[in-house]
Amino acid sequence: MPVYVKGVGMTKFGVHSKTSQELCYEAALEAIQDAEISLENINAIVISRGDSTVDGERQRLFPSVISSILQKENIPITQVTAACSGGGAALWDAVHSGYGNVLVIGVEKLTQIPTKIVTDDLMIASERIYEQTEGLNFPAQNALVAQQYMMKYNATSDDLALVALKNHDNAFLNPKARFFGKKVTLDMIKKSQMVASPLRLFDCSISVDGAAAAIISKDKSDIEIIGSSLYADRLPAFESKDMTSWEATKLAAAEAYKQAGIMAKDVNFAELHDAFTSVELMAYEDLGFIEKGKGRELIKKGVTKINGKLPVNASGGLKAKGHPVSATGVSQIYELVNQMRKRAEKRQINNTKIGLAHNVGGAGSTATVHILKNIGG
């Protein structure tokens, strides 16, 4: 049975004094208005939230908090905690739930705690004994992956810098992005502090607060979800046969393309999981946009720029729009829908017939791929 996106909503990504439930309310309100639907007609809600113990909110059983703030009692409300892939996983749950109208909300609060505590908290999504105790926080984990990739395919830090530059240029134009209106130059990127070699500060996404929402419905709308796939792989990246290629992404993409009856080349634009610039390059390849090891050609030739043949991360991506962990996957859908409905203003992409969202948890351990088709005309 076909499933559609009726409406989307999103808070600005950045530093918020609002609580998680208030952010959810703001995003949900926008989505409800956008969908032109009454909240009374929502049959189920899926929440994505990390349930951090250090975010200052100290709140578990968040579905019931959502029940309180939305005053939606006695309907199924479930929560997904899948680290950075939480938003995509929540969306996947909603699409496959069988309910008529499902509200999906992703939310995270990360800015009110010191960076070192956030680093530690996010590291909990890596393997406890093999990775956490060996200091393998996410930048370090992705640095080792990036290094393997660079050694194998002769990619350089300059290639990575171009990814950062493109996404910052896009975020500059996105009013809801953390880096909206903030100019970042190639020089700034290349000279930024080394976080975990070879990854510099501007190779890493930025942690922000924020929420995003989407209404998934069986009632026809202008945007159909023609592919929805989730694959989970082993947690540590070092366990992969080939660390430079993420099997979960490849499998999720293959299945989503099959559901959609399309091939990678049919995708017109995409929101990819650029938690690190190296991940965007690898995703080009794992999603089939280009053959393995040649991802850098897409960035060098400007193919993935807003005005390129295959615009990627027109929103600014996790890199510069911001990465509120559990909200990220839903925010990608927000961007796809706004692009398809021609509401993206200065960063509007021309051809928005088919859009793809790619969301990853861990260093490739869980991946979701959603393909949206603009059937509205």
Binding site: I129, Q132, L136, Q148, Q193
Partner: protein
Amino acid sequence: MIIRWVSEDGKRKWIYPVERDIYTKGRIIKQVSTKAKVIGITKVNIPSPLHPIVPYYVMLLEDEYGNRMPKKTMREHKIGGTYELKAAATDGAVIITKIKYDIEEYLKESIKLVHAYELKPADKILIKPSIIEAAYAYQAVNTNPKVIDALINYLREKGIEDIAVGEQAMLGNDVTDAANKAGILDVCKKHDVPFIDLSKAEYAEKTADGFSFRIAKDAIDRKVINVPAMKTNSQIGISGAMENMIRVTDERTQKRMFEEDIEKTLPKLIKELPKFLTVGDATIGLHAQGPTSMGEPAFLNMLFVSKDPAALDSVFVEAGLFKMPQYLKEAAAIGLGNTDTKSIEIIGDDLEAIKQHLKCPEKDATSHPHIKLIDGKADPYIFNSALKMTAKLVGLLGYEMRLAIGLHFSEEDLAGKNRLVAYGKDAIKRTRELGAKTAAEIPEDIDDMEKIALLKSVLESEEKSRITIADKLKSKFAGFGSKIKTRF
């Protein structure tokens, strides 16, 4: 060391210890390698609570089977180089091992890395764990039974038959109860290894520097493997390789060691004991208000192994970023082992790489927020029973008061401290010597209920500067009531 659990048909590999192949129900074969190639390395510049010191490096290692593992280090390694641990070259070396799920394999490897340590089938072994109070293994107060189990397996592998586990609990506690709850009695039963209550052992007298120790003969006649639970100790800083050996002496010796000044007598005892190996169990580890269950599990997943107990304790102190305890300074003063971590040979994980801020114990804390200790190095019985008394009063509203214990406190320690209660003969003697005004004196040899009733009467009344006859009578009744209850 890289370990994988591999299915019999070689089709599947696990990073976790599994007993059967869930697909074929077939056997699992362990793949262990101690040598690996460095295939990647990153220099990390962002700190986190678990890894506060930056920069550090994380290597990506790959063994001959293609199995990989990340490894933190403070040294730069070259991609393409070999990573392999070499056995220690000195007797004073400390082996630091981070365990990856398989305690037994890592314990064996750690002992192999000790310099010139030989185990022969004819050896008579005494395993000396920490079993101080009745607490479950996860509370990390006592030695992890899995470590004892692994050690016995290793000794059996070496052909050693004569193995005993020996310990006595913290004075005032029952060791059989404690060993039972800790899961160590079950391990002994599993291996048919006797458990010796060292409080009932035969003792031999040894005198060192004018102090006479009565030491369990088992700790002298047998080759001792000391397996302390590595933890904080609010009295002396940490409980580790050295503190754990106090309990090979009889009760009287222990009390005298504290009376005389435990920080000085402990190094003397260790010097007097035959040489022993220590396997410091930090598989969980305890921090904050150790050494009892007032502390918190630290989830360290490590072993510290050494023939030099002073070196081992010094390394643990630095790893937890604690202050150097006085007893280690005293050890250095009498030439016991090496306490200078800069000159200690470290094998395994880098000391800098494992450093993290563990919670220091507060010297004056009790379970009750309004009762603070003034600890004059009281013996374990007084210390333990003082903590137990205050724990019984948790939940009662009260007014700040001080509970003085032991002999070694000064006038300055008591200055400005009102509502003072002296507990135990030593503290009573000392407060009288100093002419300190006490609200109550509680002897150690009265009934526990009577002690608690006396303490409660001071705690609950803001004005009370001295307990009254009525309070004393009430406490006597409480004690009498508890005796009647016990009898009937």
